[in-house]
């Protein structure tokens, strides 16, 4: 098969590219290298079955050209800065909504039948129904990033029904692992790289998270691609065993053989659009046969080891 992967030089994108290539497929990757990293495509670039399109998905022609002769699209590109949306009021609309429309419209015009989309578990907000199933009501969104994901989901679903596409949407919880270059592990490792004796932590450390290794997330997408049959289907993707942020901090420090003094910034949301608990019901995915290979601790430790082996990532732009 011939797949298009947007955000191909990103964290989940590059892992998806590598997996698809390893499975023998042809892959067209699109990335602008604005947040994506060339280094993540080192292995892919060595494959004759990989082609990189260096371009901006906001340009419809770029998207349309990249979609030539493609069988299915993994739309994984997005603005990844979930914390500072209010400083850039147009960015999430442009990069997450209008870009998604560009992808959908290119797919439609090209006669492509399948799109896979990376959404976020944060759309569940502070739902009282934990673990949240895919059918849970979504509260009003509090961040532009989460709102843009809700908007993109709605557009994709309507395109699927309106034009006979198959859409598979993944609400990812906190995905970690090799090449993870944002989020708390990255932030903490960078702090400890700069000052090994102390760590500043947003919040009180008490938040519940479901850290999942990126390999398990890619497994989930490939399994759903193979087995999901409805026009538009949403799958939660998360670790089956929640943990506290404090536990993750202990694993990170232990993996780095450090004993930093930890300063908690205090209670309250970490930022607008983050929530105290992000615990998902993944029964739908499990019913397809999905089972994570790594638990949260192993996934977190793998992230830390990767960053320790790749200090250039901690030194660069995040």
């Amino acid at each position: 098969m011939r797949y298009l992967v947007t955000g191909a030089a990103g964290f989940i994108g590059s892992q998806t590219v590598d997996r698809l290539l390893a499975d023998g497929h042809e892959v067209i990757g699109v990335d602008s290298y604005i947040t994506g990293k060339q280094e993540f495509l080192a292995s892919a670039n060595a494959s004759p079955r990989f082609t990189l399109v260096l371009g901006d998905l906001f340009d419809f022609t770029t998207v349309f050209e990249a979609c030539a002769d493609v069988d299915a699209v993994f739309h994984l590109a997005a603005n990844t800065d979930v914390r500072h949306g209010t400083e850039y009021p147009r960015r999430d609309l442009d990069q997450n909504v209008i870009v998604t429309w560009n992808i959908l419209e290119a797919i439609r015009r090209r006669g492509i039948k399948t799109i896979l989309f990376a959404s976020t578990a944060s759309v569940y907000g502070d739902t009282a129904q934990l673990p949240a199933s895919e059918a849970a009501p979504l509260p009003g969104q509090t961040s532009l990033h989460n709102a843009s994901k809700v908007a993109a989901e709605a557009l994709i679903t309507a395109y699927a029904h309106g034009y006979g596409l198959r859409a598979i949407l993944f609400r990812f919880a906190s995905i970690v692992g090799e090449r993870c270059s944002h989020g708390h592990i990255f932030n903490f490792c960078r702090q400890l790289y700069q000052h090994p004796d102390r760590l500043t932590v947003l919040g009180d450390g008490d938040v519940r998270r479901t850290y999942l290794d990126v390999g398990d997330a890619v497994d989930a997408m490939l399994l759903a691609l193979e087995k999901s049959t409805t026009a538009a289907e949403i799958f939660n993707v998360a670790s089956l065993t929640p943990c506290r942020l404090t536990e993750s901090i202990a694993w990170i420090a232990d993996e780095m053989k450090l004993q930093p003094a930890i300063e908690y910034m205090g209670p309250g949301p970490l930022w607008l659009g983050s929530y105290p608990a992000l615990v998902l019901d993944c029964t739908k995915l499990q019913q397809l046969g999905w089972q994570p290979q790594l638990g949260p601790e192993a996934a977190v430790r793998r992230s830390v080891r990767y960053l320790a082996a790749n200090p250039w990532l901690l030194e660069g732009r995040s």
Copy 2:
């Protein structure tokens, strides 16, 4: 107060303008006259407290200029063609999502604190929870129009939380009444105006609807504006007594003193994004003290009488 009303020459928009003027306020109306009608602003144009901005809300500068010195915005403009979205894949994104962003961003930059927004009860889709409350889960959207409303709601809510606005969102059921110039009453009256002996009806007539007079809908907005206190609040707005489409057909025929032969086109959705039942729980609004003045029959009959008195509307573009 000084209010901006978008879609000022539309059905709900012009009724809102007239009410605000009657209450002694200043009103800036924006309309492009693409679907809005000059005739609906005849009364408003006679008021020294009304100003019309003839322009396209897709142009940010138009929106920003119109927002000067405004206290609150009624954002009622939208693409009103809910049936043929798949023929115009970009239209709902442009007119309902990007335009809404333009409004929000102009509001933010102008320091305006309040936005009221006309959403649709169709976002509840084929929910099993009838009557649907505002907290009901939203299923995947099947039409681009409904998807664009979900997207706009999410954007508005995120702006409210991110920038300290007050947002009041109204999920309108089937609003009917004077100046209603789309929907089943308009369509049926036009058919009967052209051929009084026969009527063709999409579906099997069995759908359940909650027709509400536009005056009661405007009441709901003004009451919520006065009493709602949270950052972002959603209100269902619908008749408290559902009826069948067949009942409405009987009222229309009776009001016109006609006995047409009725041909039902058969079961199934009327169009993509329409659903067999649109029955809403309006408890939240009732708790503010809202009570509709007209039942569905009176509301439908009023629509018919208005169209009979204004045949130019049936003759023109719909």
